[in-house]
Every structure is written in C-alpha cells, then in structure tokens.
C-alpha cells in the first residue's frame, strides 16, 4: 500500500506492477484525466493546487480505510498537482484483489473519498485565455465533474 501527491507524470505501468501478486485474480486501474471541456466550456489545461501535508495524510488515510474495508494491501494511488494539459492523468488508482467485486468497490471507494475529502483544488484554463477555480458545490450546467 502506497500513496503520494506528485508533481510529475504518473507512471501507470509502474503502479500496476506494484499491486501485482500471485494470489490476486483481479486488478482495477482508474485513471482520471483532464477533459477538453467542462460544463460546456472548452478547457485547455488545469492547474492543480493542494494543501500539501494534509493532502498527503488524507490520501494515506483513504487508502488505509479502503485496505481495511475491502481486505487487500495491494493499493497504490498517486495524485498529480501542478499544471496539466488535456489528456494528462491527474489521479491514478491501482487496486488488486483475489476477487473482482472487492477490487472494483475498493477502487470506487477511493476515488469517491478523494473527490469528497482531499484538499486539492483546480483552476481550469479556457480557450479564451480566462481561468477559474472549480467549485464542484456550485450548481453545474451539465452535471458533476467526472
């Protein structure tokens, strides 16, 4: 089990390798990427900022909770901060488990808790040159961000 806030490209292959174990039958990998639009506005990039020490602690707590609830130690999560372009991975969650149901559920638990609790903020940059902090609690035109 490992988690980190990183400021460089996330190496998906390496995260997958970290959760490999002969007793696992199922691996679920989640990759969150920067989309080219949000609520109908064309996006060119996102600046991720965080409350570093707390984000690191909170992400570690989320992984520990998932590990205990779903009974696997094979969990690796990295969240990237700094400037990302469209298509870049902002968060990668690798979970492996003997059984697929638990692998899916642990993965989903982790991303939902990240969305709810991790002190990370993003400032979207639009094609018209403007930029804006995203407030997921504001009423959205289309729906909640992915």
């Amino acid at each position: 089990m490992r988690s980190a806030i990183v400021d460089d490209v996330i190496d998906v292959e390496s995260l997958l390798a970290e959760v490999e174990r002969d007793s696992n039958g199922a691996t679920v990998l989640f990759i969150g990427t920067v989309r080219d639009q949000n609520n109908g506005r064309p996006v060119t990039g996102i600046e991720y900022a965080c409350y570093g020490p707390m984000a690191t602690r909170e992400l570690s707590s989320i992984c520990t909770e998932a590990s205990e609830r779903f009974a696997t130690l094979d969990i690796v999560v990295e969240h990237r901060i700094g400037h990302l372009f469209v298509g870049d991975a902002s968060v990668v969650i690798a979970v492996a488990h003997a059984r697929r149901a638990s692998a899916y559920e642990a993965s989903r638990y982790i991303i939902e808790q990240i969305k709810r609790r991790l002190p990370i903020w993003k400032r979207e940059e639009y094609t018209d040159g403007t930029r804006e902090w995203v407030d997921p609690t504001a009423v959205a035109v289309v729906g909640p961000a992915s």
Partner: protein, 80 residues
C-alpha cells in the same frame, strides 16, 4: 495566543494572501478565526461556515484552539 490561518485557491485570491498570523484571546475557537478572517478586506467572499482543518485534520467550528495551531480554511475541494 497566536494561530496561523491558511488560505488556498479562490480564498487566497480574494484575501490576496496565503497565510495570516492572528492573535486571539485564550479559549478562541475555529469559528472565531473564521469571523476574524471574514472581517478582513475581501473576507466577506468566504462562506460563514467554510470547511476547516486544524493541524491537518478536519475540525468543527466549536473546536477550541491552542497557541501555534494551524487553521486551514478549505475551499470546496476538487481533486481527482
């Protein structure tokens, strides 16, 4: 006693700073720090009950602070 309020993202923008040293009477709470920050120029843009973490753990407004505490005022999170 003195505590440090931390500001992030849109909250740091409206208050034009990322941290504030605040001298408070003993017994001051999280809520008192919020009230102090909201009375500053630009501070009215903050909600009356923002998410707060004391020393990196989420805390309720009635939590009593100790000298040296780090009080982070957390805008709506948007990780992932």
């Amino acid at each position: 006693m003195t505590v440090t309020a931390l500001l992030f993202a849109s909250y740091a923008d409206v208050l034009q700073r990322e941290s504030i040293e605040i001298t408070m009477p003993n017994g001051a709470t999280v809520g008192d720090v919020i009230a102090h920050v909201r009375a500053m120029p630009g501070g009215a843009m903050l909600p009356p009950f923002p998410l707060v973490a004391v020393n990196q753990a989420y805390a309720r407004p009635d939590v009593v602070l100790a000298s040296g505490d780090e009080v982070a005022i957390i805008p709506p999170v948007a990780g992932g």
